[in-house]
Each structure stands twice: as C-alpha cells, then as structure tokens.
C-alpha cells in the first residue's frame, strides 16, 4: 500500500500523519507513508482542503483529521480493495 498525506506543515497535517503512522503500526500493515509538502504536487491531486489522504493514488479524504479507529477502518478497507 502506498499512502500519501498531502499538506504543508500545519497542525492538522501533522496530526493526521502521526495517526496514520500509528494505525499502520497497530494493524502491522506493510505500507509506505509519505508526506507531500510541495504545493504543485498537492494541487495535482485536485484537493481543495488539506490535509489530503491518498491511498494508492486515490484521494480518500480532504480537510479531515479522522480518528484513529476510523483510520484503521479506512486502511483495512483499502487493503482489501473495497471502499471504506
């Protein structure tokens, strides 16, 4: 799984990155987690609000900081290839 967090160095973006990281660890999922801070790259995903959560090239959410349990649901669903 390839996960990207789109967003500058703002509080919400940092929180989401930390939570995704924690969720991955707790589920012991194998994934790459990248934080994208370059604005043109962020824009290229077509999001209007940060942080954006991108899993395998697909924008899952934007402008939201999900709870840890919700993130786990999303990650598990993404691994099975089903929408969360």
């Amino acid at each position: 799984m390839d996960i990207k967090i789109l967003g500058s160095n703002c509080a919400n973006c940092r929180t989401l990155t930390a939570r995704v990281d924690q969720a991955l660890k707790e589920l012991s999922l194998n994934a790459t987690l990248e934080k994208v801070e370059d604005i043109p790259r962020i824009i290229s995903y077509g999001i209007l609000a940060t942080p954006g959560l991108v899993i395998d090239g697909k924008v899952i959410s934007q402008g939201q900081v999900q709870t840890l349990s919700r993130l786990k649901e999303i990650l598990l669903a993404a691994r099975q290839g089903a929408p969360a």
């Binding site: 500058s8 290229s44 995903y45 077509g46 209007l48 402008g63």
Partner: protein, 338 residues
C-alpha cells in the same frame, strides 16, 4: 458507538443539556454564596462568580453549536461550494461566497490549495477573496462567544458587518482587476478534479458532529478558560470606566490603534473574546472592540504569509488594506451609533 443508536443519541443528550444549562446560574450562586460564604460586594467574589458561571455556560454553548455546525458542514463541502461559485460572477458571486464562507469547512492552512482550486475552475478573483475573508472571520467559535458573553444583538452585528466587509472587499478587489498579481505558476497548474464526497449517511453526519466537538472544543477550551479567567480578573478588580479614556468613544485614534494591535496578534476567538468583553464593561466603546476582534480573528498574519505563496506583494497589501479599511469603517460606525 455505531449503527442506528448514534442517530438517537443527540435526542437523548439534548434534554440533559437543557436541564444542565438552566442549573448553571443557581449552582454558581450556591457555590459562591454558601460554600465559600463570601460577601456580595468583594471583588474576589464577583470574579469567582463570573468565572464559575461563564466558563461552563460558554463551554456548553460551544459544544451545542459546534455539534450543529459539524453536521451542517457535511452538506457544504469545498467542492460543492466551488461548483456553485464557478457559475456566478461579481455581486451575486461575492454575496454567495461570503455566505458560503460561513458554512464551508475551512482552516487557514488550507488557504493555498483552496485559492488555487477556486481560481483554476474560473471562480473570479474577487469572489474567491470574499470567501477567504468571510471563512475565518465568521466562525462558529466567535459567534458562540459573542452570543454567550455579549448577547444576541452584538453577535448579529458582528456577523452582519463581517459579511458586509467580505462582500464589499471582494467586490472591490474584483473591480481592481489584479489578476496579474497572482503568481503566474498558479495559472499553469492543471489538476484532475477528484470526487471524494460521496453522500454521507445521517449516521455519518452525526458522527461528524461529535468529531467536531472533540476536535474544536478539545482544541480551544484551554484558551477559553484562560480568557475567561483574565476577563474575571478585569471584571473584579479593574475600576469602572478605566478603559473609557484609552478605548472609549472620545478617543478617535482608538479604532486604528485597535486594528494595528489586532492584525499581528494571532489568537483564536476563544482566548480574545472573554478579555474583550471585560474591557467593554469597563468603558471601552463597542465599535473599537468590534474592530479589535475582527482584526485579530479575520486578518491574521500567518494566513497572509501562507497566501504569499500564491499572491504577489501588491495584491497582499491591497487585500490587507481593503479589509482593514472595512474594519475601520465598522469601528467608527458603531462608535458613532452607540
């Protein structure tokens, strides 16, 4: 908590909320009067009474409104707002953008992607600015605090004049045709519009409401308690009419000074409003106080610095200048009327 239960939870909690809310004043009086056994007139008594009543009251109002706004916002995603604004040009666009700025979820750290996303689909520059001015200035935390501490009239005045500034400033920026002062690379970007907003269920919307409480109230409560504590101190000890000479009506320079102090000050509404309320009580003029609040909340230095990435300096100065002028007009107007 999952499933259908979640939908009924608010109906269960609401009567509890109302009962608790009505109980606050007698409870505060009881604690101050009976438990501490303090005299009526002592400054410390008044300060403690103020703090014990206002803190839970404002927190409870905040929880209720943040929950409601959290649900309302699931209906207004930024994509939907952009789609609406793309279809309207000046005047109608400015009015719609200012109104949508209130209900569309927005955080100033998202200002850049939002700006680019709007401009990209052809939302006019002035309309985009109306949105960017209204969104941070008129937020639910500010409105709840104004309502809780100043009353309905002041809250309505704040919302009304805030909207007027957003509409007028956006309209003027649009008329000035400053498109050349947007960084040129913004127009060269091309993005694929993503559809992330599948229509959420009611269960999802209510969950968003609860998450909003945790996110927003969890973040601002500290500032709020500190703000009310400082306010309580001013309430109890600062002599009546102390502020009249500094921030009163007769001091003409108080409005521009309030703005000059307010713009670089970056505090969220939760910290600043309780302090401002106490100042008002000690003789500061309403217009001066409104101007101070609007410049603290609406015109923030961090947001301006973020926007620097997409706007060239002349446009930044125009934007800050027009909004500050608008706030100044509001300040003088209310000092004149009241």
């Amino acid at each position: 908590m999952n499933g259908r239960k979640l939908i009924f939870l608010p109906l269960l909690l609401l009567p509890l909320w109302i009962a608790l809310y009505w109980f606050l004043q007698p409870a505060a009086d009881f604690v101050v009067g009976s438990l501490f056994g303090m005299g009526k007139e002592a400054p410390l008594t008044e300060a403690i009474r103020f703090f014990l009543f206002e803190t839970p009251k404002v927190l409870m109002l905040l929880v209720l409104v943040v929950f409601a706004v959290g649900i309302v916002r699931t209906f207004f995603t930024p994509e939907r707002t952009r789609a609406i604004l793309g279809k309207h040009s000046h005047v109608t666009g400015n009015v719609l953008a200012s109104l949508l700025g209130i209900v569309t979820p927005f955080c100033s750290c998202s200002a850049v992607p939002l700006f680019i996303g709007f401009v990209e689909v052809g939302v006019p520059l002035g309309v985009t600015f109306s949105f960017l001015i209204a969104a941070p200035m008129i937020n639910e935390v500010a409105v709840v605090l104004l309502f809780g501490l100043f009353g309905l009239k002041t809250a309505m005045i704040y919302v009304g004049t805030g909207l007027a500034i957003a509409m007028a400033a956006g309209y003027i920026i649009g008329r000035l045709h400053l498109e050349n002062y947007v960084q040129s690379w913004v127009y060269e970007l091309h993005s694929v519009s993503q559809q992330t907003d599948s229509c959420p269920s009611w269960e999802g919307r209510i969950r968003s409401g609860f998450e909003a409480i945790r996110d927003i109230v969890g973040k601002v409560w500290v500032y709020l308690v500190i703000g009310i504590a400082v306010g309580a101190g001013i309430h109890g000890w600062v002599p009546q009419d102390f502020m009249a000479s500094i921030m009163g009506k007769s001091a003409w320079w108080s409005v521009p000074l309030a703005i000059a102090i307010g713009v670089p000050l970056y505090s969220n509404a939760a910290g600043i409003i309780p302090v401002v309320q106490a100042l008002l009580e000690k003789g500061a003029a309403l217009g001066t106080v409104l101007a101070f609040m609007m410049s603290v909340i609406g015109l923030s230095l961090p947001e301006t610095i973020i926007l620097r990435k997409v706007l060239r300096l002349p446009l930044i100065f125009t934007f800050v200048g027009i909004v500050a002028a608008g706030i100044m007009v509001v300040g003088y107007l209310f000092n004149y009327i009241f």
